[in-house]
C-alpha cells in the first residue's frame, strides 16, 4: 500500500468519527459525512466526491456546492448553495460563503461583500455557538471582506483559530489560517500552522502546497518538489497545477508551463489564474491565437479580470520585461483600481523603470489599502530615506547616492561608467535612449529592498535595464567585493537587455556581463577555481543548451555561482570561434522573438547542440592540465586529487616549520593548476615563505599571480604595495593601490599613498583625484587634506582652483601657516622671486 493510500484511509476514519459524534446528531451516523466527502475531493477524486454528495441528498447541498466549485462548475455550485441556503440545510452558512466567493470570482464583488458582511455580522452576534466548520465559513467571509479592508485579516485569523480550537481535527481551519498568514507575508507563522497539519496528516496536499509556498517565500530551492508532492496527494489540486505552471514559466520552461496550466484548467476551467499563465506562455512564445483565446476565456469568467493582467505583469517582470510588466499592470489597475496586487506590481515596476514619482504614488495607494504588505512598506520607507540622497546627473548617467558616498562615487564611479559605456555601446551596437540611473546603497538591506522589496537578497547589484542598483562599498566588509566590476557588470546588462529588447536569456546576459568585467580590467570578473573544475569534471554543470536552468533552477547552492563563470566561458568561446559580431547577432535574434535554438542557428549557423559539443572541446582544451590534477569529491564542488594532495602536503610542512619542503609542495600544487589561483592558495603561501627568507622579488612574483586574477585580493594587493613602495617602484605601487581602491575605497591612507606616488611620477591629474578622495573619506585632519589638494591642483597647473581652495582653507583657519605660504606662492608671477 502506498503512503498516500494509507493516509487517505486514515483521514476517512478520523474525520468520519469525529464529525459524526458530537456535532451533527443522529442523522449522520448512517451516512457519509461532509468531511468524508471532502476527503474524497482532497485526494483528487472529485467525481466520486460529487457522486457521494449527490447521493447523500439535500442535506449535503452545501458540500455538493463545495465539490462543484473545485470542479469549476460554478453555475451548478450556485444552485447547490442556493438550495442549501433556502432549505436551511446543515452548513447553510458554508453555502453562504461559498456563494459569496463565487460572486467574487465572477467580479460581482458588491454582492459578494454583501453576503460576507451578513455572515460576519451574524458571527459577531452569536458566533460562539457556531460549529467549527461555521467558524471557518466566518473566516472565509472576513477574508473576502479583507479585499477592501485589510484590517479584517485579524478577524479572519481569529475565526480560523476558533475553529481549530474547537476541533483540532478540522485541518481545513489550520490550512486556511496558514494560507492567510502567508498571504499577509508572515511565512514563519504560516510554516508553523502548516506543520501542525502535517504533523497529523503527513502528506496533506493543501498543507504540502502551503509549505511549497513558504519555501518559495523563503527563497529555498525545494519548491517545485513540494508542489509535485502536493499533486501526488491530490492530482486535482488546481492551485498546485497553477503554481507548477508559474514555476515552470519562471524557469522559462514554456512547454511544461503550458502543460501544467492546461491540467489546472482540465480540473477547473474557471481558474482565471490558469488562463493567465496559459496566456503568459503564449505571450512569451509569440502565440497570439492562444493568448487571445485565453484572454477571452478570462473575460468570460470575470468582466474585469484584473488578476489576469496582474499575472501577466508578474510573469513579464520575472523575465526582465519590466516595461511590458508596467503595461500589463496598468491594465490590471485600470480594471480594478483597488487591487493591492495590481497596484503593487505596477508601483514596484514603475520604480524599476525609473518612474520614481509615479511608482511611489502607486505604492502609496496600495499601502493605504493594505498596510500589512511588507514589500510595499519596505519600499516606501526606503523611498523616504532616498529623499535625502544626492543626485549627480552628468553626461550619460544619473548617480543617486547617499551624501556620505557622493563625493567618492563621483570621483571613481562616474568616470568608470563613462569608460564602460564607451566600451559597451559599440560592441553591442546599442545605446540607451536616456541617462542610465544608477542607485548606490550604503546598507545591503536597502539595496535588497530596492531590488525585491525584502531584505536578504544575496546579489551585489541589479539591472532593470537603464535603472541599476548596487551595494555601496560600505555595504560589505572591506575586500569582500569589487564595486568597480559590479558596476561594470550591471551596466553590461543594460546593453544586452537593451539590444535584445529584454529578450536575452539570463544565462547569456550574465555570461556577457562577466566577460565584460574581465575585459574591463585583467583582475576583474569570476575566475576558474578548483571546486568549479571539480563540478565540471563531475558533470554537475549544465550544457549550453540548458545553461539557463543553472540560474533559474539550481540543483545545489553553488550552481548559480558556477553558472556565472560557465556562462562567461561560453561567451568567450563564442567570441573566439565566431567573432565579436556573434553577440549583436544573437541579441538581435532574441529581439526578433526567436528562442535560443533559433537564435543560435541564425547567429552561428549551427544548431545549439553542436555549440554544446564545441564548448565541451573548448573546456577540455582550455583546462586540460588542471582537470587532470583535480578529481571530484563527494558533493558538488568537493575537490580531491593530486592538487589537493600537494596543498595538504604543503600545509603539513608549513605547520611543522619545514619551509623548504612546504615550498616544494606548494610549487608542485601551483604547477598542477597553472593560471588558477585559489584564494589563500599556493601563491599566497609561497609569497609568505619568500618573505620569510627576505626574497622580495620572489614574494612579489607570487603576489602578482594572485593580484592579477583576483578582483578582491585586498591583503595581497596591500602587501604588494608595501613591497613595491619599499623598492621605490611608484608605478607598481600605484597599480596595486588602484586595485585596492576597487575593493576598499574608504581608507584615506591608501589615497594619500597613491597621491604621493602620482605626484612623484608627475601624474598630477591622478594626484588631484586622490587628494579629493582623501577629502571624500572624511579625513582626520580636513584642513591638511584640503591644503594637500590645493598643492596638487597647483602642481597640475590649475592655479585658479588651487587659489580658491587655499582661500577656503584660510577663511576658516587664517593662522594656517603652510596655507598662507601657498597663497603667497600662488600669487607670485611665474618665474618671480620666491
Amino acid at each position: 500500500m502506498t503512503r498516500t493510500r494509507r493516509f487517505r484511509q486514515r483521514s476517512w476514519r478520523a474525520l468520519g468519527i469525529v464529525a459524526c459524534a458530537p456535532l451533527l446528531g443522529a442523522w449522520c451516523m448512517d451516512q457519509p459525512d461532509r468531511r468524508a466527502i471532502l476527503a474524497l475531493a482532497e485526494s483528487g477524486r472529485l467525481e466520486d466526491a460529487e457522486t457521494a454528495a449527490r447521493t447523500a441528498g439535500p442535506t449535503f447541498a452545501a458540500t455538493l456546492g463545495d465539490v462543484l466549485v473545485l470542479r469549476g462548475r460554478l453555475t451548478s455550485a450556485d444552485s447547490a448553495y442556493d438550495a442549501a441556503i433556502t432549505q436551511r440545510a446543515p452548513y447553510a452558512r458554508l453555502a453562504e460563503v461559498g456563494r459569496a466567493e463565487i460572486d467574487a470570482r465572477r467580479g460581482a464583488l458588491a454582492e459578494a461583500l454583501a453576503r460576507a458582511e451578513r455572515l460576519t455580522a451574524a458571527y459577531e452576534r452569536d458566533g460562539r455557538a457556531w460549529l467549527p466548520e461555521e467558524h471557518v465559513a466566518a473566516g472565509r467571509a472576513y477574508v473576502l471582506r479583507g479585499r477592501r479592508d485589510a484590517r479584517l485579516a485579524r478577524q479572519a485569523l481569529a475565526a480560523f483559530d476558533a475553529a481549530w480550537a474547537a476541533d483540532n481535527t478540522l485541518l481545513e481551519a489550520r490550512v486556511r489560517a496558514a494560507d492567510l498568514l502567508l498571504d499577509k507575508y508572515n511565512a514563519a507563522d504560516a510554516r508553523g500552522s502548516y506543520e501542525d497539519v502535517l504533523a497529523v496528516a503527513a502528506e496533506h496536499p493543501a498543507a504540502t502546497l502551503g509549505m511549497a509556498r513558504v519555501q518559495e517565500f523563503d527563497g529555498r530551492g525545494e519548491t517545485m518538489a513540494m508542489v509535485r508532492k502536493a499533486l501526488a496527494g491530490n492530482p486535482a489540486l488546481t492551485p498546485a497545477h497553477v503554481m507548477l505552471a508559474r514555476l515552470h514559466l519562471e524557469a522559462e520552461a514554456y512547454d511544461s508551463a503550458r502543460v501544467a496550466a492546461d491540467r489546472a484548467l482540465a480540473v477547473d476551467s474557471t481558474a482565471v489564474e490558469a488562463w493567465a499563465l496559459r496566456a503568459a506562455v503564449a505571450w512569451f512564445t509569440g502565440d497570439s491565437t492562444v493568448f487571445a483565446a485565453s484572454r477571452t476565456a478570462a473575460e468570460a469568467l470575470h468582466p474585469r479580470p484584473s488578476d489576469f493582467y496582474a499575472t501577466l505583469a508578474e510573469s513579464a517582470v520575472r523575465h526582465r520585461r519590466y516595461v511590458d510588466g508596467v503595461r500589463f499592470a496598468t491594465t490590471a489597475v485600470t480594471l480594478d483600481s483597488a487591487s493591492v496586487r495590481a497596484l503593487g506590481v505596477l508601483g514596484t515596476n514603475q520604480l524599476r523603470t525609473g518612474a520614481m514619482t509615479e511608482g511611489r504614488a502607486t505604492l502609496d495607494r496600495a499601502f493605504a489599502i493594505d498596510p500589512y504588505n511588507v514589500w510595499h512598506k519596505n519600499t516606501l520607507d526606503l523611498l523616504d530615506q532616498m529623499d535625502g540622497f544626492t543626485t549627480i546627473a552628468r553626461g550619460r548617467f544619473q548617480l543617486v547616492v547617499s551624501p556620505e558616498d557622493a563625493a567618492l562615487m563621483e570621483l571613481y564611479l562616474l568616470p568608470l561608467l563613462e569608460e564602460a559605456f564607451d566600451s559597451l555601446a559599440p560592441r553591442y551596437a546599442w545605446r540607451p535612449e536616456r541617462a542610465v540611473r544608477f542607485e548606490i546603497f550604503r546598507r545591503h538591506a536597502d539595496f535588497s529592498v530596492r531590488s525585491v522589496g525584502l531584505t536578504g537578497l544575496g546579489a551585489l547589484g541589479v539591472s532593470f535595464g537603464d535603472v541599476l542598483a548596487m551595494d555601496a562599498p560600505s555595504a560589505r566588509e572591506p575586500g569582500s567585493f569589487n564595486w568597480g566590476s559590479t558596476a561594470w557588470h550591471e551596466l553590461a546588462h543594460t546593453f544586452t537587455l537593451g539590444a535584445s529588447a529584454n529578450h536575452v536569456p539570463r544565462w547569456l546576459s550574465e555570461g556577457l556581463s562577466v566577460l565584460e568585467e574581465r575585459r574591463a580590467r585583467g583582475s576583474w570578473g569570476a575566475t576558474a577555481t578548483p571546486d568549479f573544475l571539480a563540478a565540471y569534471k563531475a558533470g554537475q554543470l549544465r550544457p549550453v543548451s540548458s545553461l539557463n536552468d543553472g540560474f533559474v533552477r539550481p540543483r545545489y547552492p553553488a550552481e548559480v555561482q558556477y553558472s556565472y563563470y560557465l556562462a562567461s566561458l561560453v561567451s568567450e568561446m563564442l567570441e573566439a570561434e565566431f567573432g565579436a559580431a556573434v553577440f549583436p547577432a544573437l541579441l538581435t535574434a532574441y529581439r526578433s522573438g526567436l528562442d535560443s535554438p533559433e537564435a543560435f542557428a541564425r547567429a552561428t549557423r549551427l544548431p545549439i547542440d553542436s555549440i554544446d559539443t564545441r564548448f565541451q572541446r573548448y573546456m577540455q582544451t582550455r583546462f586540460a592540465k588542471p582537470l587532470a590534477a583535480i578529481e571530484a569529491g563527494e558533493g558538488p564542488g568537493d575537490v580531491k586529487g593530486p592538487f589537493v594532495d600537494a596543498m595538504r602536503e604543503g600545509a603539513g610542512h608549513l605547520e611543522a616549520k619545514r619551509a623548504d619542503a612546504a615550498r616544494a609542495a606548494f610549487e608542485k600544487a601551483q604547477a598542477l593548476l597553472p593560471g588558477i589561483e585559489p584564494v589563500n592558495g599556493a601563491s599566497w603561501q609561497l609569497a609568505r615563505l619568500a618573505l620569510e627568507r627576505a626574497d622580495t622579488a620572489a614574494a612579489l612574483a607570487q603576489l602578482a599571480r594572485i593580484t592579477r586574477v583576483h578582483e578582491t585580493a585586498l591583503a595581497p594587493n596591500l602587501l604588494e604595495a608595501d613591497l613595491l613602495e619599499a623598492r621605490g617602484d611608484d608605478a607598481g605601487l600605484m597599480a596595486a593601490l588602484e586595485r585596492v581602491i576597487w575593493s576598499s575605497p574608504y581608507d584615506a591612507a591608501v589615497h594619500v599613498r597613491l597621491a604621493e606616488a602620482a605626484t612623484r611620477l608627475g601624474q598630477h591629474a591622478i594626484a588631484v583625484r586622490e587628494r579629493r578622495a582623501v577629502l571624500a573619506t572624511g579625513p582626520a585632519d580636513p584642513l591638511e587634506a584640503r591644503y594637500q589638494l590645493a598643492r596638487a591642483l597647483a602642481a597640475a597647473g590649475d592655479a585658479g582652483a588651487a587659489r580658491r581652495e587655499v582661500l577656503g582653507i584660510l577663511e576658516s583657519a587664517p593662522g594656517f601657516e603652510k596655507a598662507q605660504a601657498l597663497l603667497l606662492e600662488l600669487r607670485r608671477p611665474p618665474g618671480g622671486p620666491r
Binding site: 572591506p478 574608504y746 582626520a780 584642513l783 587664517p814 594656517f816 601657516e817 598662507q820 597663497l823 603667497l824
Partner: protein, 326 residues
C-alpha cells in the same frame, strides 16, 4: 584684564585668552591665574591589560603621552606621573605600578605642588566596568571607583581639571566627576558600552601629530583633541564596516575650547610682538568679515577676504623673518 596674547613661556596646557573669542570665553577663562604663573600637571594611569596585546597597547599609550608632554608641551618631568600595570617595562618613563594606593598617593603629591590656576590633566585608560559611582577601571589590586576619583579630585578647586577616561564602559564617570572648572572626557557614553575602545590611540595621535589642530593655529585645545579622536574613531569603525560601539562624551565644550595642549612662546622682541599683534588684528578682521558673509556680495566678500588673508600671510612671513614664530 589684559587680553593681549599670552606671554607664558614654556606652557604646556595653557589657557588661551584670544581676542576673537574674548567675550564668549571670558567667563570660563577669567578665573585662571596669569599665564606665566600657570603650571600643568599630568597624571597617566593605565590598568591591567589581561592579554599581552592589551598590556602592550596600554603601555604604549602611557609612553606616548609621557613623551608628548615632556618633549612637545615642555611639561617639567616633575609634573608628569605615569602609573602602569608594570612599571618595569619602561622605568625611564613609568613612575610606578598603577595600584589604587599609588594613584591616591599621586593625587596627594600633585595636591602638594599645584598652585591656583594650574591645569591638571588626568588620563585613565584600561578595561572599565560598573555603573555610576561604582564605575571603575581594572587596576592591579583593588579597583578605584569613579567615586574614589571624585574624592581625590575634590581638593583641586583652584585648578582646571581635565579628566580623560578612555577606558571601556567609562561613560558613567561623567555624572560622578562633573563639576565646576572640570572637563570630563569619556570614550563611551555609558557603562553599557563595554567593548574595547579605540579612543585613546586616536586622542594621543592627534596630540602627537598636531593633526587635531583644527584651526591650524599651532595649538591643540582639549575640544580639538576630543573632536579629532571622536571623528577618527567613527571613521575607523566605518572603514572596518563595524557598528560603532563607543560614543565619546565631553562634559564642557566651552571650557574645553579654552584649554590647549602645548603653547606658543611669545617673543620678547618688541618688533615681533608688534607684528604678532598686527597679525592678530587682521585675524579679527577676518572673523568680522566672515560674520558679514551672508549679507555681502560674493565678489566683494572674496576680494576682501583675499586681501586680508594675503596680509596675514605676509605678516607671518615678516614675523618669521624677524626671528619670531608665527
Amino acid at each position: 584684564m589684559d587680553l593681549a596674547p599670552l606671554a607664558g613661556v614654556g606652557l604646556m596646557f595653557h589657557t588661551m585668552f584670544r581676542r576673537a573669542a574674548a567675550v564668549a570665553l571670558l567667563s570660563a577663562a577669567g578665573a585662571f591665574a596669569p599665564a606665566d604663573a600657570q603650571q600643568q600637571h599630568l597624571l597617566v594611569i593605565t590598568g591591567l591589560g589581561g592579554e599581552p596585546a592589551y598590556r602592550t597597547a596600554f603601555a604604549d599609550v602611557a609612553r606616548r603621552l609621557h613623551d608628548v608632554a615632556t618633549t612637545k608641551w615642555n611639561v617639567p618631568a616633575a609634573n608628569v606621573t605615569v602609573l602602569t600595570e608594570d612599571a618595569t617595562r619602561d622605568p625611564a618613563r613609568f613612575d610606578g605600578r598603577s595600584t589604587r594606593e599609588a594613584v591616591g598617593e599621586a593625587f596627594l603629591a600633585m595636591s602638594r605642588r599645584v598652585k591656583a590656576g594650574d591645569v591638571i590633566i588626568v588620563f585613565l585608560h584600561g578595561h572599565g566596568s560598573g555603573q555610576a559611582g561604582e564605575s571603575r577601571v581594572n587596576l592591579p589590586g583593588p579597583d578605584p571607583t569613579a567615586a574614589d576619583f571624585g574624592t581625590w579630585l575634590s581638593g583641586f578647586t583652584q585648578q582646571t581639571v581635565i579628566f580623560v577616561n578612555a577606558a571601556s564602559a567609562s561613560g558613567d564617570f561623567q555624572r560622578v566627576l562633573a563639576g565646576p572648572r572640570r572637563v570630563v572626557l569619556t570614550s563611551t557614553k555609558s557603562a553599557v558600552e563595554r567593548n574595547d575602545t579605540r579612543f585613546a590611540g586616536h586622542f594621543v595621535k592627534g596630540l602627537e601629530s598636531l593633526e587635531a589642530d583644527a584651526n591650524k593655529d599651532g595649538r591643540v585645545t582639549v575640544l580639538e583633541a576630543f573632536d579629532y579622536a571622536r571623528r577618527a574613531v567613527e571613521r575607523e569603525y566605518e572603514t572596518d564596516s563595524r557598528m560603532l560601539t563607543e560614543h565619546a562624551v565631553l562634559s564642557d565644550s566651552t571650557l574645553a575650547a579654552t584649554v590647549a595642549f602645548g603653547g606658543r612662546a611669545a617673543s620678547s622682541d618688541p618688533r615681533v610682538a608688534a607684528l604678532v599683534a598686527e597679525r592678530q588684528a587682521l585675524e579679527e578682521q577676518v572673523a568680522a568679515l566672515r560674520a558679514k558673509k551672508a549679507i555681502m556680495a560674493d565678489a566683494a566678500y572674496e576680494a576682501e577676504l583675499e586681501r586680508l588673508l594675503v596680509a596675514i600671510a605676509e605678516k607671518s612671513q615678516a614675523i618669521r623673518a624677524a626671528g619670531g614664530t608665527p
